[in-house]
């Protein structure tokens, strides 16, 4: 591969938007499908599709609404290819979730910032728990074995942490919009 091919001034902007919005895209796909590993697969496909359509992207235009449109077709194509097997949300429900997901993703941009703030407020113990759960991708069975807690205790700890983060975000978002 040579280092000298293709240098499009728009391309850099496009790549910046695409990489900068990976989490938004993934959150959008996840809330339409309800399944993390499916969402990861669709994100891959959506990235490829967006990359192919990079030329259509006009610098300065809103990136996310356009990207959601592209991703939406990938979601629907994925659901069709799977039929009903191993889907969390049924195809009918996916179609109903997509507009909700678009609306929520575009309507609540500060939620991500609030969430990052709220993570900082977690206790060391709770952060360690989430770190093991997410960063090391341990299943609750594995966490349960490692920590000697029962499965129910792990679920309930997860529930408590999620609830407290959710309350924290809601509070923060509410106070920011006041």
């Amino acid at each position: 591969m040579s280092d000298g091919d293709k240098q499009d001034p728009h391309l850099e902007e496009f790549v910046r938007m695409l990489t900068g919005h990976q989490v938004d895209l993934q959150a959008f796909i996840m809330s339409s499908l309800g399944n993390y590993s499916d969402a990861a697969d669709v994100l891959q496909a959506a990235n490829v599709a967006l990359w192919k359509k990079a030329a259509q992207f006009r610098p300065g235009a809103a990136f996310l609404p356009w990207a959601f449109q592209v991703a939406k077709f990938e979601i629907l194509a994925f659901v069709r290819s799977r039929r009903r097997e191993r889907l969390v949300f049924s195809p009918e429900l996916v179609e109903m979730m997509i507009p909700v997901a678009v609306e929520r993703s575009s309507g609540f941009p500060s939620r991500g910032d609030a969430l990052r703030e709220c993570i900082k407020r977690l206790s060391e113990r709770n952060r360690e728990f989430l770190r093991i759960r997410y960063a090391q991708e341990q299943s609750i069975q594995q966490i349960s074995e490692k920590t000697g807690r029962s499965l129910e205790a792990v679920k309930s700890l997860y529930h408590r942490i999620r609830k407290s983060i959710e309350r924290c975000i809601d509070r923060k978002v509410a106070s920011d919009t006041l």
Partner: protein, 707 residues
């Protein structure tokens, strides 16, 4: 407003969504979730928000592991996000090539030879090739073989081959990569961001500007995602890769055990992610093997020698455990003469070893010791068996977290030196923590140093940690030649013990307290059962008793927002407790250590000391000692070690630590003797142990026997 209100969310919906993301939902659960969501728009709103939060949460924690663009762990192929990074790094490479021009400089070298392989054809093909992309920054005795010898200040260009017959050479890629090459080695410069290692060993430290820097070997490609890794290619073409910090992806040929090896298996088209502490060997036929341990001499970080290196020949030959490739990619690191202030503690965490105080530093017996960086995550590994191979008579040390139960394999074979050392944690452990430099600076946890004398060369077996708690840390192994260890002068144990008030007072350090306190965590003061706040106890303001602020040389002041009236905290004994979880006017708190006392004017027999605190986060937890004295004149309150406290006339009544109860809520502790009263004491002293975010004390009651 679309924002769903917490109290309107159906608990059933929440439970179903949680089951789905935890991957423990049954078919019936999934069906029920679909049914609910199909019928309720409100629930769809909540579900979308829940799932988006879940994604962001997961991504934030992955970000904490430093690479934001990857969504899968090491054992799974990378998603497309990596692919789309390529164009970006590609653009960056081009920009760098144009603006910086030079790619490599060599700082020092021994027996370094290079030769030009540029041809007119190469120049014609790539626009940037005529640019100087490399320079030679130093080195005294550049050898000569073939085309050209390297001189200080020389420039390397794309297409050049660096051939190092032996010794070490530092190279600097101008995009922001420092490479240390260990000979015999052959490295071909392919671009400002890429080089091919044909044989030999290199260690690369990659700055943020150069993420994406790549090393190709005959059977693999290693791409840096920041910040430091090593690659070695042996004479058969087998590749070893070790990640010292940050992450890399590695592409390699994937050979299943039952497949016959083709002469050169094709590379996988997708990389695999490796995190710090991990390593992998790809053999010349494409089989994967675990790299159990590497020595720092295997992967030199710099050609410049440390001034104090080689106090003795390396003692630890090998470290191994009972796990295989596939079960783990973790690789122990053995550091020769490496134990010093701020030395890295674990392969998989950037935590550092430190002495407990600036005055005495690390215990003499550990300074410059050879040591092993273990895997902090092995703290939870109950099946672990570790073997440490020593090549001569040695004193072998095990450093063990003071919070874990001592395992039998340790107490059977090892003895406690009495010394403690500290670990300095960074924000991975808690968001407000960061690494400090030097002894006693920002030390967060303490470890006891145990030893065993190994009189003959051979292997010593170590085991797993017992009943680990999730926040505890893995043990560490260090060694020193036995004759040197025996010749060391003894140091007073107290030089290397945690000091009272510094935040990590371990129970073994303290005399046995008179009382084991009770504690409780509740949502409201009304729910307390172990004790209730009182406005008529012997320490209340109505009796004229004052909680007096104590300082050490004018230090240890409470938070500036705390109301202090002429050195007195009026709020601690006014009988009124906080009205909310952040009631500043009714609370006393410190950021760090705090000390305060009461004087009853005459010795009193004490039935109970009850302490109440309330906050929504970790400031709810209580972590203090209470001391008593019957003397007329209050003894000094600035002691830091137990012997001094006792000599001054203080008696330890109890140590309270409610941190295990969890954060946020009302915390209460009650110190009372079951059958008898305590004392008599005229003076009581509270020492709130150092916490970065200290307790929100709202009320302290002392109940005495009626007179």
């Amino acid at each position: 407003m679309l924002e769903p209100q917490d109290n309107t969310v159906s608990p059933e919906l929440v439970a179903l969504l949680e089951a789905v993301v935890l991957q423990c939902a049954s078919d019936a659960d999934v069906a029920r979730l679909n049914e609910l969501l199909l019928t309720s728009a409100e629930m769809r709103q909540y579900a979308a928000q829940f799932l988006q939060d879940e994604t962001r949460l997961r991504s934030a924690f992955e970000m904490l592991e430093r690479v934001g663009s990857f969504h899968r762990p090491a054992s799974i192929e990378l998603p497309a996000a990596t692919k789309i990074l390529k164009p970006r790094s590609h653009l960056r490479r081009m920009t760098l090539a144009w603006t910086l021009a030079a790619a490599v400089s060599i700082v020092t070298s021994s027996l370094l030879v290079w030769r030009m392989v540029r041809s007119e054809n190469d120049v014609a093909q790539g626009g940037i090739l005529p640019q100087a992309v490399a320079s030679f920054g130093g080195g005294s005795e550049a050898g000569l073989k073939g085309d050209a010898a390297l001189e200080p200040g020389n420039t390397l260009r794309i297409g050049d081959i660096v051939d190092l017959r032996s010794g070490l050479a530092n190279l600097r890629f101008f995009c922001g990569v420092d490479v240390c090459l260990k000979g015999p080695a052959t490295l071909k410069i392919l671009s400002p961001m890429r080089a091919a290692l044909e044989r030999g060993t290199l260690t690369a430290r990659v700055e943020e500007s150069a993420h994406g820097f790549r090393i190709d070997t005959p059977n693999s490609k290693v791409v840096d995602l920041g910040t430091e890794f090593g690659v070695a290619v042996d004479e058969h073409g087998s590749t070893d890769m070790v990640v010292f910090s940050g992450k890399v992806t590695m592409e390699y040929s994937d050979l299943r055990p039952d497949e016959e090896a083709p002469s050169r298996p094709p590379l996988l088209d997708k990389g695999r992610l490796f995190s710090e502490g991990e390593a992998m060997r790809v053999t010349s036929v494409g089989a994967l093997e675990r790299v159990m341990a590497v020595r720092d001499s295997d992967y030199p970080r710099s050609a410049v020698e440390r001034p104090d290196a080689d106090q003795w020949p390396a003692i630890i030959d090998a470290v191994s455990d009972n796990f295989r490739a596939g079960d783990t990619n973790m690789c122990y690191q053995i550091a020769h003469n490496g134990f010093r202030e701020d030395a890295r503690a674990y392969v998989d965490r950037p935590y550092q070893w430190n002495g407990l105080n600036a005055e005495h530093g690390l215990p003499l017996c550990l300074r410059r010791a050879d040591y092993v960086m273990t895997f902090c995550d092995d703290k939870l590994n109950s099946r672990l068996e570790m073997h440490v191979t020593l090549n001569r008579a040695a004193r072998l040390y095990v450093l063990i977290d003071n919070r874990v139960d001592l395992p039998k394999w340790l107490t059977d074979k090892f003895h406690d030196t009495g010394y403690d050392v500290g670990v300095d944690e960074n924000a991975l452990a808690a968001s407000w923590q960061s690494l400090g430099a030097g002894s006693g600076v920002s030390v967060d946890k303490t470890f006891s140093v145990w030893y065993m004398d190994v009189r003959k060369p051979g292997s010593v077996a170590l085991g797993a940690l017992r009943t680990p708690i999730i926040q505890s840390m893995m043990y560490c192994v260090a060694a020193m030649p036995l004759d040197m260890a025996l010749a060391l002068e003894g140091e007073p144990v107290r030089n290397h013990q945690p000091r009272i008030g510094r935040g990590f007072t371990n129970r073994e350090l303290l005399p046995k307290p008179l009382v084991e306190p009770k504690s409780q965590r509740v949502e409201n003061f009304a729910d307390l059962t172990i004790a209730k706040p009182s406005d008529s106890d012997a320490a209340s303001a109505t009796h004229g008793v004052k909680f007096r602020l104590e300082t050490m040389d004018g230090k240890l002041l409470p938070h500036p927002d705390v109301i202090v009236d002429d050195g007195v905290f009026a709020t601690l004994n006014d009988g009124r407790v906080s009205q909310n979880a952040d009631d500043r006017p009714r609370s006393v708190w410190y950021d760090g250590q705090g000390r305060f006392s009461v004087d009853f004017l005459r010795p009193r027999r004490i039935e109970a000391i009850n302490t109440f605190s309330w906050h929504r986060f970790e400031r709810a937890s209580q972590f203090f000692t209470v001391w008593g004295s019957a003397a007329d004149v209050k003894p000094p309150t600035d002691f830091e070690d137990v012997d001094q406290a006792i000599a001054d006339g203080w008696q330890l009544i109890a140590q309270v630590n409610t941190r295990a109860l969890g954060d946020g809520a009302v915390h209460a502790s009650s110190i009372s003797a079951l059958k008898e009263t305590l004392g008599p004491y005229r003076h009581l002293l509270w020492i709130a142990e150092h916490q970065v975010r200290g307790t929100f004390f709202t009320e302290i009651d002392v109940h005495t026997t009626p007179e």
